[in-house]
């Protein structure tokens, strides 16, 4: 399978603190990849470097074959990012938000209309498509943000804590949607603390701790490698505890 996203020796330092220590990772086209780890492990830093919101201290990022540093705009055209606390224009309606994002990606108005209508229906926002977002509940805002992030049909969809605020029905349909999009070839990268979600959705899981990728593989690979029959949650806790003891000894 072709690698859609490549982290090649990516390093990120904040002053003296090393947040990401030489990350090497390939994520394939159509793959659902989950990045999990304790708070401050380097997940959000890695995702932000992937969309150009942070500059790597060292290493290279490639998206769809484009070197991010050299061909930024082309690389960004393939990506969509929903951060954990997304900014949303309160004084826009969901429809206006979709139109705006679509135009930023130079989409034809007709295509924006087709995709937008489909997404608004999917996220059950059609009946409020002309209501200002400032009047929405948290969950509805999240839906509007997700819809706007998908309007330009990105090749790589990056989500930081994607299900926060969504109701159970929406979570179920969004999970189905993600699976369907991955089957169509969209690469999905999600960072989450909800380990059940990673276990349920992801083809591969990367566990990051203190800026290092300490485990990588499908849930079955991880169970096999660590000779464990436990679920991801227990495996994750044991792995992180072992790493902490190891780093204390060092």
């Amino acid at each position: 399978m072709a690698a859609m996203v490549e982290f090649i020796g990516i390093k990120k330092c904040y002053g003296n603190k090393v947040a990401v220590k030489g990350l090497d990772l390939e994520i394939n086209m159509g793959e659902i990849f989950a990045l999990v780890g304790p708070n401050g492990a380097g997940k959000t830093s890695s995702l932000k470097m992937l969309v150009g919101l942070l500059k790597p201290t060292g290493g290279q990022i490639r998206i769809g074959g484009y070197d991010f540093a050299a061909e930024r705009v082309k690389a960004k055209g393939l990506v969509s990012f929903v951060p954990d606390t997304p900014y949303v224009y309160e004084k826009l309606t969901p429809w206006e938000l979709l139109r705006f994002v679509g135009k930023l990606y130079s989409m034809h108005p007709k295509v924006i209309e087709e995709e937008g209508t489909m997404l608004l229906e999917f996220f059950s926002l059609s009946h409020v498509q002309d209501v200002l977002i400032e009047e929405f509940s948290h969950g509805m805002r999240q839906k509007a943000v997700l819809a706007s992030a998908l309007v330009h049909q990105p090749k790589v969809f990056i989500l930081d804590e994607p299900m926060v605020g969504l109701d159970p029905m929406s979570i179920k349909s969004f999970k189905d949607f993600i699976r369907r999009k991955a089957a169509e070839g969209m690469t999905i990268i999600l960072s989450t603390h909800a380990l059940y979600l990673a276990e349920e959705l992801a083809d591969r899981i990367g566990i990051i701790h203190e800026g290092e990728l300490i485990a990588l593989g499908s849930i079955k690979d991880l169970q096999k490698k660590y000779q464990s029959r436990e679920n991801l949650e227990n495996m994750f806790i044991k792995l992180v505890e072992t790493e902490e003891i190891r780093s204390q000894k060092e």
Partner: protein, 551 residues
């Protein structure tokens, strides 16, 4: 620059929708705000109108003085726009939450820079337009140019604002590029301010030659106002251009060419300064922004020591109760960690300090007693107006900024009255520390009798009480828990109403001060009692409003 059109379209939609959502507000709110704006504009207009009439009556300097006033006005506008655009561009270029959204799309960094430059031009200039319009209308009428004058000024105002705003934005961006370390930036700012103070003090010669008449006083001052006519200043180009086109007489005297020349000079410079802006936007902006995201490795050892000392001091206090103390500690830390916002206040209070320190250089202290008292009262009211803006910006939004967490307060063992009293005590302490030394300094520099200084400073404490009490009370009566942006909270109905109440109260205080040439106990007690009532009553209403609220 493919996306600038889309981004401009976005901003137009946002403004249109903001107006659309205004329709949902009650008619009463609209009426109150409309009446206030019309009354404030009319008040300013009449103030300028009577000032010009007074100036014109001072033969033989009247007409000269009116022209000098216009140069001084545009010069002040230039300086204030420069400061205001530098500060607002810092916030909009580096701290706006919109930037990560745009930067993760194919929008180029230089497009974001120009979008934020336009925003910063708008934010830094619209308020000045509000003050400028009554001034230029009154001025136009006095010059015999009628209503053509404001239109002419507006035409010059556009390139003037673009030029000044581009300069201010460039300045703040380059300062952040060359001085990325916040501590060094503060040191550089302190050095720059010290240098300006030094120049200002050195540049003030003995001014007043003869003070038997206004003409005599003016003959001392007029030569020293010429700095505003320096031909290198954009404000001077704007003034010369506007004045040469203002009336048929001036057009006949100087010709259309003069006016057009100065307009072209402003316009070409405004356009020229977009070139370095473009270079900065393309070459530096993304680097600076990304460097800003690289937050440091935490607090320095010195800061930790300071913070721990502060926490120990707070823990050592026996009163007020711990939950209230928790809010006090949080509010103080939040205030101290918001330098982008309070730096503007430091500038305004700093300018007042600078001016008061120079009162003797300006030789105001040798004026006749009547004029010294007028200057003292005006200085005091000026200080209160800056204090009012402090209360509007920091005290009024305090309750709203508790935001969606407010239900925690509702559940916690803190009475609303305790919470409001904590905000009041904090506000009064800071207000008093900022204001009273300034009033004292102003009086001392003017050689006002000590009894009058103490009288005014004593009343000043009650004015601080009233302004803070009103701000806390109105903040509780009209909270906006949806927003975490203080500017948005202030611009709501509650904030606008508070501004009206503050200004009305200060007008009354100004009248009292003006009319009482001698300190009098009865007046003191009346103003003090009135101020206590003005501060306490809104707090009572605020407490009742919070009790009724559902979260």
């Amino acid at each position: 620059m493919d996306h600038l059109g889309t981004l401009a379209g976005l901003k137009v939609t946002l403004i249109t929708n903001a107006f659309r959502s205004l329709k949902k507000r009650s008619r009463f709110e609209f009426m109150v705000l409309a009446v206030f704006f019309v009354a404030a504009a009319a008040g300013l207009y009449f103030f300028f109108h009577f000032s010009f009439r007074f100036f014109r009556a001072q033969e033989p300097f009247g007409p000269i003085l009116i022209d000098e006033t216009f140069y001084l006005f545009t010069f002040s506008l230039f300086v204030m726009l420069l400061i205001s655009s530098s500060v607002s561009s810092y916030t909009s270029l580096f701290r706006s939450r919109e930037i990560p959204l745009l930067a993760s799309t194919p929008v180029e960094w230089n497009e974001i820079y120009f979008l934020k430059l336009a925003e910063s031009l708008w934010y830094s200039s619209w308020a000045f337009l509000f003050v400028a319009l009554p001034f230029v209308t009154a001025y136009g009428i006095h010059k015999g140019a009628g209503l053509f004058f404001p239109v002419l000024c507006f035409a010059f105002f556009i390139p003037f604002v673009v030029l000044t705003g581009s300069l201010g934005t460039l300045l703040s961006t380059l300062i952040i590029w060359f001085l990325p370390n916040r501590r060094r930036r503060r040191l550089a700012l302190a050095l720059a301010v010290t240098f300006i103070v030094f120049l200002f003090v050195r540049a003030q010669p003995s001014l007043i030659k003869e003070q038997g008449s206004i003409a005599g006083i003016m003959s001392g001052y007029l030569p020293h106002l010429s700095f505003a006519k320096n031909p290198a200043l954009p404000s001077c180009w704007a003034s010369r251009g506007i004045l040469s086109l203002a009336t048929a007489e001036s057009r006949a005297l100087m010709g259309w060419q003069d006016g057009l020349f100065y307009f072209s000079l402003l316009l070409s410079n405004a356009l020229f300064f977009l070139i370095p802006s473009y270079s900065v936007a393309t070459q530096l902006y993304s680097k600076i922004y990304l460097r800003f995201q690289d937050h440091g490795s935490g607090e320095t050892a010195r800061r930790i020591k300071l913070r721990k000392g502060f926490e120990r001091a707070i823990d050592g206090l026996k009163w007020p109760p711990r939950p209230v103390m928790a809010f006090l500690e949080k509010d103080l830390k939040t205030f101290a960690r918001d330098p982008a916002e309070w730096s503007q206040l430091i500038i305004f209070f700093g300018l007042l300090l600078l001016y008061f320190m120079n009162l003797r250089n300006l030789e105001f202290h040798v004026l006749q007693t009547f004029w010294k008292n007028v200057v003292f009262v005006l200085n005091t009211i000026g200080t209160y107006i800056v204090l009012s803006s402090f209360n509007m910006r920091f005290v009024f939004p305090m309750i709203s900024l508790e935001g969606s967490r407010f239900w925690i307060i509702d559940l916690s063992p803190v009475r609303f009255s305790d919470l409001l009293l904590e905000k009041l005590a904090l506000g009064i302490t800071i207000s008093t520390l900022l204001t009273l030394p300034l009033i004292f300094l102003s009086g001392w520099m003017l050689k006002i009798p000590m009894s009058r200084i103490l009288f005014t400073a004593g009343l000043g404490f009650f004015v601080c009480f009233a302004l803070t009490g009103m701000s806390v009370g109105f903040g509780a009566i009209f909270p906006n828990f949806k927003s975490d942006n203080p500017n948005e909270i202030i611009s709501g109905f509650g904030g606008s109403l508070l501004l009206v109440v503050h200004l009305t109260y200060l007008a009354v205080i100004g009248l009292f001060l003006m009319l009482t040439s001698d300190p009098h106990a009865l007046i003191f007690v009346t103003v003090a009692m009135g101020s206590i009532l003005a501060g306490v009553y809104p707090i009572k209403l605020g407490r009742a409003a919070l009790k009724k609220m559902e979260f």
